[in-house]
Protein backbone atom coordinates (compact mmCIF):
# COMPACT_ATOMS: atom_id res chain seq x y z
CA UNK A 1 0.00 0.00 0.00
CA UNK A 2 2.73 2.44 1.02
CA UNK A 3 5.06 1.76 -1.88
CA UNK A 4 2.48 1.62 -4.65
CA UNK A 5 -1.06 2.76 -3.94
CA UNK A 6 -0.27 5.50 -1.43
CA UNK A 7 2.74 6.59 -3.47
CA UNK A 8 0.63 7.48 -6.52
CA UNK A 9 -0.08 11.19 -6.79
CA UNK A 10 -3.52 10.60 -8.30
CA UNK A 11 -4.54 8.31 -5.44
CA UNK A 12 -3.14 10.67 -2.80
CA UNK A 13 -5.01 13.65 -4.35
CA UNK A 14 -8.18 11.58 -4.54
CA UNK A 15 -7.91 10.54 -0.87
CA UNK A 16 -7.12 14.13 0.18
CA UNK A 17 -10.25 15.36 -1.53
CA UNK A 18 -12.59 12.72 -0.18
CA UNK A 19 -11.29 11.23 3.09
CA UNK A 20 -9.40 11.86 6.29
CA UNK A 21 -6.86 9.02 6.21
CA UNK A 22 -5.13 7.10 8.95
CA UNK A 23 -3.28 3.82 9.44
CA UNK A 24 -3.03 1.37 12.32
CA UNK A 25 -0.35 -1.21 13.16
CA UNK A 26 -2.45 -4.28 13.93
CA UNK A 27 0.48 -6.38 15.15
CA UNK A 28 2.77 -4.10 17.20
CA UNK A 29 4.36 -7.11 18.92
CA UNK A 30 5.47 -8.71 15.67
CA UNK A 31 6.19 -5.39 13.97
CA UNK A 32 7.17 -2.97 16.76
CA UNK A 33 7.68 0.70 15.80
CA UNK A 34 11.43 0.36 16.29
CA UNK A 35 11.70 -2.76 14.15
CA UNK A 36 14.25 -2.27 11.34
CA UNK A 37 12.78 -2.55 7.86
CA UNK A 38 15.04 -5.52 7.14
CA UNK A 39 13.43 -7.49 9.98
CA UNK A 40 9.96 -6.67 8.68
CA UNK A 41 11.07 -7.79 5.22
CA UNK A 42 12.39 -11.06 6.64
CA UNK A 43 9.06 -11.83 8.34
CA UNK A 44 7.09 -10.82 5.25
CA UNK A 45 9.25 -13.01 3.00
CA UNK A 46 8.42 -15.94 5.28
CA UNK A 47 4.71 -15.18 4.81
CA UNK A 48 5.13 -15.06 1.03
CA UNK A 49 6.89 -18.43 1.15
CA UNK A 50 3.91 -19.88 3.00
CA UNK A 51 1.70 -18.55 0.17
CA UNK A 52 3.76 -20.48 -2.37
CA UNK A 53 5.51 -17.44 -3.86
CA UNK A 54 8.80 -18.62 -5.41
CA UNK A 55 12.00 -17.57 -3.60
CA UNK A 56 13.30 -15.49 -6.53
CA UNK A 57 10.04 -13.57 -6.80
CA UNK A 58 9.60 -12.78 -3.09
CA UNK A 59 11.68 -9.60 -2.86
CA UNK A 60 9.99 -8.03 -5.87
CA UNK A 61 6.55 -9.14 -4.68
CA UNK A 62 7.38 -7.57 -1.34
CA UNK A 63 8.44 -4.29 -2.90
CA UNK A 64 5.20 -3.82 -4.78
CA UNK A 65 2.61 -6.26 -3.39
CA UNK A 66 -0.29 -4.23 -4.79
CA UNK A 67 0.94 -4.94 -8.32
CA UNK A 68 2.97 -8.15 -8.03
CA UNK A 69 0.71 -10.37 -5.95
CA UNK A 70 -2.60 -11.82 -7.16
CA UNK A 71 -5.48 -9.37 -6.44
CA UNK A 72 -6.76 -9.61 -2.87
CA UNK A 73 -3.71 -11.48 -1.53
CA UNK A 74 -2.81 -10.69 2.08
CA UNK A 75 -6.26 -10.55 3.66
CA UNK A 76 -4.69 -10.72 7.11
CA UNK A 77 -2.04 -8.13 6.28
CA UNK A 78 -4.16 -5.25 5.07
CA UNK A 79 -7.65 -4.31 6.26
CA UNK A 80 -9.23 -1.19 4.86
CA UNK A 81 -12.22 0.47 6.49
CA UNK A 82 -14.15 3.15 4.64
CA UNK A 83 -16.20 4.94 7.29
CA UNK A 84 -18.59 7.80 7.92
CA UNK A 85 -17.32 10.96 9.63
CA UNK A 86 -18.39 9.36 12.92
CA UNK A 87 -16.27 6.26 12.24
CA UNK A 88 -19.02 3.82 11.25
CA UNK A 89 -18.04 1.27 8.60
CA UNK A 90 -19.78 1.51 5.22
CA UNK A 91 -17.34 -0.51 3.12
CA UNK A 92 -14.62 -3.01 4.01
CA UNK A 93 -11.77 -4.29 1.88
CA UNK A 94 -8.97 -6.68 2.72
CA UNK A 95 -5.70 -7.57 1.03
CA UNK A 96 -3.58 -5.86 -1.60
CA UNK A 97 -5.28 -4.35 -4.65
CA UNK A 98 -4.05 -2.29 -7.55
CA UNK A 99 -4.41 1.49 -7.16
CA UNK A 100 -7.15 1.44 -9.81
CA UNK A 101 -9.24 -1.12 -7.95
CA UNK A 102 -8.57 0.53 -4.60
CA UNK A 103 -10.05 3.77 -5.98
CA UNK A 104 -13.05 1.84 -7.36
CA UNK A 105 -13.76 0.51 -3.86
CA UNK A 106 -13.33 4.01 -2.43
CA UNK A 107 -15.79 5.32 -5.04
CA UNK A 108 -18.21 2.60 -4.01
CA UNK A 109 -17.82 3.72 -0.39
CA UNK A 110 -18.62 7.29 -1.41
CA UNK A 111 -21.78 6.07 -3.14
CA UNK A 112 -22.76 4.25 0.06
CA UNK A 113 -22.02 7.35 2.13
CA UNK A 114 -24.51 9.30 0.01
CA UNK A 115 -27.17 6.82 1.13
CA UNK A 116 -26.18 7.10 4.78
CA UNK A 117 -28.60 9.26 6.71
CA UNK A 118 -30.68 9.98 3.62
CA UNK A 119 -33.67 8.01 4.91
CA UNK A 120 -34.69 5.87 7.92
CA UNK A 121 -34.05 2.80 5.77
CA UNK A 122 -30.52 3.81 4.76
CA UNK A 123 -29.06 0.65 6.30
CA UNK A 124 -31.31 -1.52 4.12
CA UNK A 125 -30.39 0.53 1.04
CA UNK A 126 -26.67 0.11 1.75
CA UNK A 127 -27.09 -3.62 2.40
CA UNK A 128 -28.99 -3.98 -0.88
CA UNK A 129 -26.22 -2.23 -2.80
CA UNK A 130 -23.60 -4.50 -1.22
CA UNK A 131 -25.68 -7.59 -2.08
CA UNK A 132 -26.09 -6.49 -5.69
CA UNK A 133 -22.36 -5.95 -6.08
CA UNK A 134 -21.60 -9.24 -4.35
CA UNK A 135 -23.84 -11.02 -6.85
CA UNK A 136 -21.86 -9.55 -9.75
CA UNK A 137 -18.66 -11.05 -8.28
CA UNK A 138 -20.31 -14.40 -7.52
CA UNK A 139 -21.40 -14.66 -11.15
CA UNK A 140 -17.97 -13.57 -12.42
CA UNK A 141 -16.36 -16.21 -10.19
CA UNK A 142 -18.74 -18.87 -11.51
CA UNK A 143 -17.93 -17.90 -15.10
CA UNK A 144 -14.18 -18.02 -14.41
CA UNK A 145 -14.59 -21.45 -12.75
CA UNK A 146 -16.34 -22.76 -15.86
CA UNK A 147 -13.51 -21.45 -18.03
CA UNK A 148 -11.03 -23.02 -15.62
CA UNK A 149 -12.64 -26.42 -16.04
CA UNK A 150 -12.08 -26.13 -19.79
CA UNK A 151 -8.43 -25.10 -19.39
CA UNK A 152 -7.26 -26.06 -15.88
CA UNK A 153 -3.61 -25.04 -16.34
CA UNK A 154 -4.34 -21.32 -16.57
CA UNK A 155 -2.97 -19.65 -13.47
CA UNK A 156 -4.62 -16.35 -14.40
CA UNK A 157 -8.04 -18.00 -14.22
CA UNK A 158 -7.27 -19.42 -10.78
CA UNK A 159 -6.32 -15.93 -9.63
CA UNK A 160 -9.47 -14.51 -11.18
CA UNK A 161 -11.66 -17.03 -9.31
CA UNK A 162 -9.86 -16.26 -6.04
CA UNK A 163 -10.07 -12.49 -6.55
CA UNK A 164 -13.78 -12.59 -7.37
CA UNK A 165 -14.41 -14.75 -4.29
CA UNK A 166 -12.48 -12.30 -2.09
CA UNK A 167 -14.43 -9.36 -3.56
CA UNK A 168 -17.70 -11.18 -2.80
CA UNK A 169 -16.46 -11.99 0.72
CA UNK A 170 -15.57 -8.33 1.32
CA UNK A 171 -19.18 -7.37 0.54
CA UNK A 172 -20.40 -10.05 3.00
CA UNK A 173 -18.07 -8.72 5.70
CA UNK A 174 -19.13 -5.15 4.91
CA UNK A 175 -22.77 -6.14 5.46
CA UNK A 176 -21.90 -7.90 8.74
CA UNK A 177 -19.92 -4.88 9.98
CA UNK A 178 -22.16 -2.20 8.50
CA UNK A 179 -22.20 0.99 10.63
CA UNK A 180 -20.11 -0.68 13.35
CA UNK A 181 -17.07 1.02 14.85
CA UNK A 182 -13.95 -0.47 13.17
CA UNK A 183 -11.92 -0.52 16.39
CA UNK A 184 -12.71 -4.12 17.38
CA UNK A 185 -12.05 -5.41 13.85
CA UNK A 186 -8.74 -3.57 13.68
CA UNK A 187 -7.62 -5.41 16.81
CA UNK A 188 -8.77 -8.92 15.93
CA UNK A 189 -5.28 -10.17 15.11
CA UNK A 190 -3.89 -8.58 18.23
CA UNK A 191 -6.27 -10.64 20.34
CA UNK A 192 -5.22 -13.81 18.53
CA UNK A 193 -1.57 -13.07 19.35
CA UNK A 194 -2.29 -12.79 23.05
Amino acid sequence: MRAVTFAQTEVVDYLHRNFISTWYNQQPRVYPPTSPAAVNDHIACGCLASHGIAKGARQEALRRPDLNLPPGTGAGNVKIFFCTADAAIVNYLQGHWTPKEFVQHADFALALLKLHGSSPSDREAMTKLHRECKQVHVEASRKAQQELQASPAQRKLVEEVNAQNIRAQCHDLSIQRLLQDPQSHMREDLRILR
Binding site: A3, S21, T22, Y24, N25, Q26, Y31, A106
Partner: protein, 61 residues
Protein backbone atom coordinates in the same frame (compact mmCIF):
# COMPACT_ATOMS: atom_id res chain seq x y z
CA UNK B 1 19.17 18.01 -27.12
CA UNK B 2 22.51 19.54 -26.08
CA UNK B 3 25.00 18.34 -23.50
CA UNK B 4 23.50 20.51 -20.75
CA UNK B 5 20.00 19.05 -21.33
CA UNK B 6 21.41 15.54 -21.19
CA UNK B 7 23.11 16.40 -17.91
CA UNK B 8 19.84 17.81 -16.51
CA UNK B 9 17.99 14.63 -17.44
CA UNK B 10 20.71 12.56 -15.79
CA UNK B 11 20.46 14.59 -12.58
CA UNK B 12 16.64 14.34 -12.64
CA UNK B 13 16.86 10.56 -13.05
CA UNK B 14 19.26 10.33 -10.13
CA UNK B 15 16.95 12.44 -7.97
CA UNK B 16 13.97 10.09 -8.45
CA UNK B 17 13.45 7.90 -5.38
CA UNK B 18 13.92 4.20 -5.90
CA UNK B 19 11.08 1.80 -5.09
CA UNK B 20 13.11 0.68 -2.09
CA UNK B 21 13.47 4.25 -0.86
CA UNK B 22 9.73 4.82 -1.25
CA UNK B 23 8.94 1.61 0.59
CA UNK B 24 11.18 2.47 3.50
CA UNK B 25 10.46 6.16 3.68
CA UNK B 26 8.61 7.56 6.66
CA UNK B 27 4.83 7.50 6.87
CA UNK B 28 3.48 10.24 4.57
CA UNK B 29 2.65 13.39 6.51
CA UNK B 30 -0.87 13.46 5.09
CA UNK B 31 -1.69 10.27 6.99
CA UNK B 32 -2.76 11.18 10.52
CA UNK B 33 -2.59 9.10 13.72
CA UNK B 34 -5.86 7.24 14.39
CA UNK B 35 -7.14 9.44 17.22
CA UNK B 36 -6.36 12.67 15.38
CA UNK B 37 -7.93 11.38 12.18
CA UNK B 38 -11.12 10.42 14.00
CA UNK B 39 -11.34 13.86 15.59
CA UNK B 40 -10.65 15.69 12.32
CA UNK B 41 -13.17 13.58 10.37
CA UNK B 42 -15.82 14.29 12.99
CA UNK B 43 -15.05 18.01 13.07
CA UNK B 44 -14.91 18.43 9.29
CA UNK B 45 -17.76 15.97 8.63
CA UNK B 46 -15.53 14.15 6.16
CA UNK B 47 -15.45 10.37 5.57
CA UNK B 48 -12.75 8.45 7.42
CA UNK B 49 -10.38 5.93 5.83
CA UNK B 50 -8.58 3.53 8.17
CA UNK B 51 -5.89 1.21 6.86
CA UNK B 52 -5.04 -1.47 9.41
CA UNK B 53 -1.91 -3.40 8.52
CA UNK B 54 1.06 -5.40 9.74
CA UNK B 55 3.76 -2.87 10.42
CA UNK B 56 4.19 0.85 10.44
CA UNK B 57 3.42 1.95 6.89
CA UNK B 58 7.11 2.70 6.53
CA UNK B 59 7.72 -0.83 5.29
CA UNK B 60 6.30 -2.55 2.26
CA UNK B 61 2.75 -3.21 3.41
Amino acid sequence: MNRRDTLRLGVAALALPTMDAIAHARTPEWILPVDSARAVAKRERKPLLIVSLNGNLDGNC
